[in-house]
């Protein structure tokens, strides 16, 4: 899979949110995006997942423009903002519901993914009773459970304890081995340094280029 962002600019209410972003990213790599709060990391991820549309430019996956709405976006695993989980359902039930959107049913697979992210497969608590870390693990699980080729994770280690963060690192390494294209935005330098093949710095909506952390 090749993801290309070409001359992408976004202006909202006369404010330049993203400024002429150009990127070419390929499968089997983990790319990090580093920047302070409000630098445009999340906006870039919103752009790649077509939640927002460009003022100028385009996004291509395998040479297909995703802006005109013809690309099958279910091939993207996305952890961005807070996903819509039902507070009165368990984690397993929530993931099953999301898994069923594209007519897929495989409880064993969902349980396996829950285990991989460090959740108990038969976690009895409802989502509203989950701790911050457990909620984050469930969000990661929903982003990777459908074996998508492109995985976009915005601040994935937020709320995770040290042990869970290590488990998350192992998971990302495994996904990389499976030839996934992984994008991670974080302000945690250690996460990016340990996981990413390339790290880009974003500041004020501009891609400042590759950096070493």
């Amino acid at each position: 899979m090749i993801l290309e962002v070409k001359n992408y600019s976004k202006t909202i209410k006369d404010k330049q949110i993203l400024n002429n972003i150009n990127l070419k990213l390929t499968s089997g790599n983990v790319y990090g995006f580093y920047g302070r709060n409000g630098s445009g990391k999340t906006m870039l991820f919103r752009a790649i997942s077509t939640l927002i549309y460009p003022t100028k430019g385009d996004v291509f996956i395998d040479n297909i423009s995703i802006i005109n709405g013809n690309y099958d976006l279910s091939k993207i695993g996305l952890l961005l903002e807070e996903p819509d989980f039902y507070p009165y359902l368990t984690g397993l039930d929530n993931l099953s519901l999301l898994y069923e959107i594209n007519n897929k049913k495989d409880i064993c697979h969902i349980k396996k993914i829950m285990k991989e992210v460090g959740l108990l497969e038969n976690q009895p608590e409802k989502y509203r009773e989950y701790s911050l870390g457990m909620k984050q693990k469930l969000r990661i699980a929903q982003a990777i459970m459908e074996n998508q080729g492109l995985i976009i994770l915005d601040e994935p280690t937020n709320g995770l304890d040290e042990e869970s963060a290590i488990k998350f690192h192992e998971l990302i390494k495994k996904l990389k081995k499976d030839n996934k294209l992984i994008l991670i935005a974080s302000h945690n330098k250690d996460d990016l340094r340990l996981l990413c093949d390339k790290i880009f710095k974003i500041d004020a909506g501009e891609l400042m280029g590759e950096i070493k952390l």
Binding site: L51, E81, N102
Partner: protein, 227 residues
């Protein structure tokens, strides 16, 4: 796994029962479904008393809240699992039509069952009654969809959906009061007070409204802050 909220279903049934009881208190005598005028009066009535008019419009308010709120919420979000926006919006528009039709039909049907004490089978096997139900359902569907589209266009206002429902309800009362004097069979919604034919203009407007919803959804910046 519970997808249907039993409490909500019970609440809707309770609301329909209350509306039916309120309507019942204004009838001097109760008839059965063989009296088409009585059937029509149960569903469609406009009088000099605004309180009566409000009671008769309550089922529309109920359906606008049930149908519109669900789909307005869905139209304000997007998940990449839905394949892409075009795919999702097409699926959603079909769901809006089906849900709106079924819910409005059931709301009307329950009122008839309660107020005429007639069985479900007998009601749906009567072609004349079915035609009246169909006219009412189509006109109410238009109101449901109109509420959704106006809410989408004023999305910046917090709780725009609730605001639109209230404004629409009040506007509808004023609109009917004025429009009935014009006595035109082509005005959407007003048509059903004047005759017993399906208004083709309402059907056209329903499809135009759905196209507007699609256009608005396809080009909106979901989570982008530019809506």
């Amino acid at each position: 796994m519970k997808r249907l909220n039993l409490r909500q279903i019970l609440l809707i049934i309770f609301c329909i029962t209350v509306i039916s009881i309120l309507k019942n208190s204004f009838f001097n005598s109760i008839d059965d479904i063989s009296n088409i005028e009585f059937v029509k009066m149960i569903l469609i009535m406009w009088s000099d008393s605004q309180i009566l008019n409000i009671i008769w419009l309550l089922p529309i308010l109920l359906s606008a809240i049930i149908v519109g709120k669900k789909y307005y919420t869905k139209l304000c979000s997007f998940d990449v699992r839905y394949k892409n926006r075009k795919h999702y919006i097409n699926k959603l528009l079909i769901n809006i039509i089906i849900s709106s039709f079924i819910i409005n039909f059931l709301i009307m049907l329950f009122q008839l069952i309660i107020l005429t004490n007639t069985s479900f089978i007998l009601i749906i096997s009567n072609i004349k009654v079915l035609k009246i139900l169909l006219i009412y359902v189509v006109e109410t569907m238009f109101i449901n969809i109109l509420v959704i589209i106006i809410s989408l266009y004023i999305k910046r206002i917090m709780y725009s959906y609730i605001i639109v429902v209230i404004i629409m309800f009040l506007s509808l009362i004023i609109f009917i009061n004025f429009s009935l004097n014009i006595n035109s069979n082509y005005i959407p919604f007003i048509n059903m007070y004047l005759n017993s034919n399906i208004n083709i203009i309402t059907i056209i407007l329903i499809f135009l409204s759905l196209l507007l919803i699609k256009r608005k959804y396809i080009y909106s910046d979901i989570l982008g802050g530019n809506d």
